[in-house]
Symmetry: D2
Subunit: 415 residues, 4 copies
Amino acid sequence: MNDIFATLESEARSYSRTWPATFDRALGSWLYDEDGKPYLDFFAGAGALNYGHNNPILKRKLLEYIERDGVHHGLDQATVAKREFLETVDEKLLKPRGLDYKIQFPGPTGTNSVESALKLARKITGRESIISFTNAFHGMTLGSLSVTGNSMKRGGAGIPLVHATPMPYDNYFDGQVDDFLYFERLLEDSGSGLNEPAAVIVETLQGEGGINNSRAEWLRNLADLCRRHDLLLIVDDVQMGCGRTGPFFSFEEAGIVPDIVCLSKSIGAYGSPLAITLIKSEHDVWEPGEHNGTFRGNNPAFVTGAEALRQYWSDDTLEKSTLAKGHRVGQVLETITSKYDGTMAKGRGLARGLGFEAPELAGKVSKAAFDRGMILETSGPESEVVKIMPPLTLTDDELEQGLQILTDSVEAAMA
Amino acid sequence: MNDIFATLESEARSYSRTWPATFDRALGSWLYDEDGKPYLDFFAGAGALNYGHNNPILKRKLLEYIERDGVHHGLDQATVAKREFLETVDEKLLKPRGLDYKIQFPGPTGTNSVESALKLARKITGRESIISFTNAFHGMTLGSLSVTGNSMKRGGAGIPLVHATPMPYDNYFDGQVDDFLYFERLLEDSGSGLNEPAAVIVETLQGEGGINNSRAEWLRNLADLCRRHDLLLIVDDVQMGCGRTGPFFSFEEAGIVPDIVCLSKSIGAYGSPLAITLIKSEHDVWEPGEHNGTFRGNNPAFVTGAEALRQYWSDDTLEKSTLAKGHRVGQVLETITSKYDGTMAKGRGLARGLGFEAPELAGKVSKAAFDRGMILETSGPESEVVKIMPPLTLTDDELEQGLQILTDSVEAAMA
Amino acid sequence: MNDIFATLESEARSYSRTWPATFDRALGSWLYDEDGKPYLDFFAGAGALNYGHNNPILKRKLLEYIERDGVHHGLDQATVAKREFLETVDEKLLKPRGLDYKIQFPGPTGTNSVESALKLARKITGRESIISFTNAFHGMTLGSLSVTGNSMKRGGAGIPLVHATPMPYDNYFDGQVDDFLYFERLLEDSGSGLNEPAAVIVETLQGEGGINNSRAEWLRNLADLCRRHDLLLIVDDVQMGCGRTGPFFSFEEAGIVPDIVCLSKSIGAYGSPLAITLIKSEHDVWEPGEHNGTFRGNNPAFVTGAEALRQYWSDDTLEKSTLAKGHRVGQVLETITSKYDGTMAKGRGLARGLGFEAPELAGKVSKAAFDRGMILETSGPESEVVKIMPPLTLTDDELEQGLQILTDSVEAAMA
Amino acid sequence: MNDIFATLESEARSYSRTWPATFDRALGSWLYDEDGKPYLDFFAGAGALNYGHNNPILKRKLLEYIERDGVHHGLDQATVAKREFLETVDEKLLKPRGLDYKIQFPGPTGTNSVESALKLARKITGRESIISFTNAFHGMTLGSLSVTGNSMKRGGAGIPLVHATPMPYDNYFDGQVDDFLYFERLLEDSGSGLNEPAAVIVETLQGEGGINNSRAEWLRNLADLCRRHDLLLIVDDVQMGCGRTGPFFSFEEAGIVPDIVCLSKSIGAYGSPLAITLIKSEHDVWEPGEHNGTFRGNNPAFVTGAEALRQYWSDDTLEKSTLAKGHRVGQVLETITSKYDGTMAKGRGLARGLGFEAPELAGKVSKAAFDRGMILETSGPESEVVKIMPPLTLTDDELEQGLQILTDSVEAAMA
């Protein structure tokens, strides 16, 4: 690996340290380094590559669009590509699910979407405070960082992050405490000292936080609590949306309808920056241009994003496949955890994790997997969870191949 | 224009209101709507299209890269495309100018770069407060918004934006007051009540603020003041960098070397989201992953961005052309302002403006230009300035055509 | 009652509304209105009159001091009266208890003491955040208000109060949840999102919050948690100190030694404004004048305060008497609560309360008592608790008289 | 001097360091140490002793009140003493000046009054930000500290003080810049980045800030600016009110009527803690108890405060005397400044100062005066101003005696 990364790139760089290879090409579930060595990608761009690398169906559309000089950069101007994207979102996502959302283009990344959601929630309610959850991850810009749990990342803010209060995520106390006991009591008690919140922001499954799943029942109770106390419910579906847990939206299983939904990562489908914020139409109180940004309209991502919706979300084939593959991952994780003490299986759909009581083991597994030609990331406050997030489109063979490497890597790490 | 934009897109949408057309294709200095009607683009993606729409040289490289399945999405992993981008930045930008900067990929937009710069400045100094300038624009996420002047946009935050103090920009008092009289006095007076700042963030020419130019001397005095008072100097070159004012960096003319530089918009060259933060190597105190994000490594933008540096910044041809064309714009603006009272010529390079004492006239000019097939945006706190920012690569004929439409539109608006 | 109070005094006035009489004289446990009608005072200046109104022993000293033109106002200059006060505090309070505290005069009220404690804790630790408890009351200036629970009072700030996080006070969940489960888990989990606290501020018994007692064991566990996590422990003993719960300091029973102690109310002994902040000597890192104020040295209060320490704290007579009288109040409260459903006995020492499930009943009891010639206040977030806080020096007859009125008033209110 | 002050009192102590004597008695303009040594007091409790130490007229009333067991501590209950105080304020201060103010008792110190004023201004306007002035001093609790200039004292907060912006006080730029040029421009420019303020808080003459006078014209322009921009005007008259500059209110000369006025220090007249907040009746939007505190009703201070109003403010004798004595001080200061380069005469009324270009000289003068039996304090950001603030009631002989000591001390310091 050429060391210009070490000499010229900032010390902030991260994944290039985890996987010391220089990648050149990529296709489907595979990355290839500059010497042609293949790596099976079980990280999938942290959820930005749910349809795999350089998906051929999408690639064809992308090349056509570029070839014919379709508008590439269009600020937030109306374009044909944007119109088709909007129409497809409406047809494939909103209408079939009976969702009455307006679509905002808040800038092309997850944190832009979260920032827009928080700003809007504060504008709607006239309140400042936000309820976040332990081990949440929402992004690195100041608004998003204030609702993120990780203390190292929070420390990077350089100012006190003060307009959010963390509440325990599902199962934070291993079932010892009733859900929302603390949260609801603070809301009900006018002497509690809790600043009245504008909104709750939640991930239905915390990816960066350590593949922490929340139960559908917990989410329903949360939605109910929000309704009773007049709080807006924001679901940050940046990492878990776009089919990662099975259905397109990760909250579908729970049957809830958030007031605001943040989407990014795989919404553009080809790995290009794109984000949208879905807003219940009654809450769309933005003034024109009140939240703007140069790269709100990434037109090639509209083209690939719309095509992905047509290809993968016209029926439930992908959803079923994801659930089946997730089930298979779960089986292998059970085998592993039944064999090794101090390990636990986590997650649902194709957002799975293998947790270790001894945090350093997760890193060892990741390294052992890399040595065996597989990309596996860790997450959690102490990087104690091996994160299993392959492209949803991987083949069964690739899945088995990856699970075998995982099994071998765990064995190597535990040795 | 299909009204799905009105029914499904959030009220936050802005430019689609200004220019009620649905664009389909674009090439060089031209946008074409879905009926094939051409529009001469004197806005250039707010500076994101300095090399024009779908620049053929860059397009070829982009298509090749996509065709051969080059890594499209790579988080911040090391890739061949990223290495070439880093090498090219080093060779074409840093070394020739003797700049000792580390390069951070802070996320793909200008506001990501600004957020990273503010966080880093606070971390380096252990201080919270930032000095910004009147009518500054730095972005819509909470950190960037706190150093932005526009009250409507600030109001969108929904929380008090409190860690910044605005100082008067160059010529804010029409020369009545010595530069930095107020700023320096507050710094020197231990009883002034000014929170000790970590850094100053400045645009050398304020685009969104109304094409307000700062003199080289003013910038030198600012840099000198920062040095004397141990403040970091951050230049937000998101809109004015990449050759917009002539040289690659807008601060080159002043001969200053900022501690941190924010670049985005045209750094990716083809209109795709990309941003970098340049950090004096002594200040690169980031921890690995302390500031991260999914779309830090937009590989196709590395490809086009590097190619643009090779094509346009291997010699001073573009810089000279920009200055010459800017000079020509200036001549026409002089003609207009000498003809009409209540108008003023603003800006430098190809970041030019025509200001109106009666703010509504600027909007009328923009509308008249649109009716004549030209995209012209307004800026300034009351949208009182017509902003003239064509692609740097436009031809002399296109320039004259645009200036004629501008002249005609002013005449129509003043009628 | 002359209505100049209604016409000229601000709407902020409060107790003059609760007890619509104009008082003229006062002695011991009695207030007399301008018509000479006596009122038995079971509120005792909210704890500022632990030694009764115009205590004759103290009065003699006060008159002598004024007669001989002792320094009345002395800023924080050294005076003979201040020296004697310091010496007496040392001899009667600190040395006998083995307490190594420095004494700060932070301004003459409880909130001044709390503000000084919070500032100092932040200075010592370099951290901003404070842990407070549900239904805490610490004062009305911005620092103290930020750690106060009452939402109406917090709302009065007019800015977000953001540097504190409330934790559940003892028995907040009726024993359903382990003490400090939530608090300690958030501290231990580096991904919890809790800003690392500088200190914990606690009342050992919450007066304004509704006469909520905390168990000695809970306080010990809190002190232990603070030690393990390197948090400073601040006890706000403004209302519960000076013997209100029996011993001079309300935390003595628990056997803990706070890092900082706030005292006011009865520390001056005659009802005059005085406050002190006790600081473990290792933590006394103040710069000279870093926290100042005009009325830090209220010399007549030094005189009466020192005399009260000599008179009442040279042996354990008062402490035992307080405990005995408190026990007697407890008996009567038991009788009441066993008779009426929806009532509960609260508190310890002579800080007692009678809580009502139907909040409005407490106000009715207070009114009925006033009609019967007794001053009884309510507290709690919904004013649902009748607060029983007579002077510690009341006679047994007065105690029985008051308890009879209380019993009658409850009967009247429940009728 | 007994060193219990050094061993037991916190390092925060200040004036006991400046004047290393232990004072015992005081009368009129004189303090006496424990050995009977007299000190002529030209500091007067920082303005808390405008009527001198232990003023015999007031003392008589105070003794009578205590002797007859008048209510000493009364929370904010209605008392006869409080009624007489209210009536006297109405009769002697408000009615004669045509002032329509409600009176709030916000707690007994200046900072309590300032906190109440800021809270109320924010409540009235719904805005958070306050405009303060360079070198302002308003108190040490967090709200007041945020509008105070001194960087050492601000640093004591331990959190960023963020809801205020300092503007240049009168003559901050030695007349080089038009009054309010900067302030008004920022208000008018919707792109300035200034958070819209709720109120302006100003001292008409800055005592702690260095005896900086503001011109009547400047104050009128400020009041006018506030009116035009819908900002509340708060005058902090804690140190300069009660006749210090001649008229009772320091703003009378300018002919302005603030929306809110803060009074403390000499309002109780005998050096006891008392403060009031005057609120234009239309702005009295407090809820009952929304701002409270134990020591709001310091009844002995009501007695002496009312008596002082009757004695000294029934005609203009004191006002004229103050102006005449102030004039005499001014003459002597002129003599001194004409003799010594690098000195300047400051102030008006009996709030006078002698400023030194070499800051350490002020401290030397103070020390030389102490050696000569006089109490003289310094102020200003670098303690560069000798502060001349004797009791208003000093005799002509005492005045001459003091001025001679001042003259001698300056000579000694300059030697």
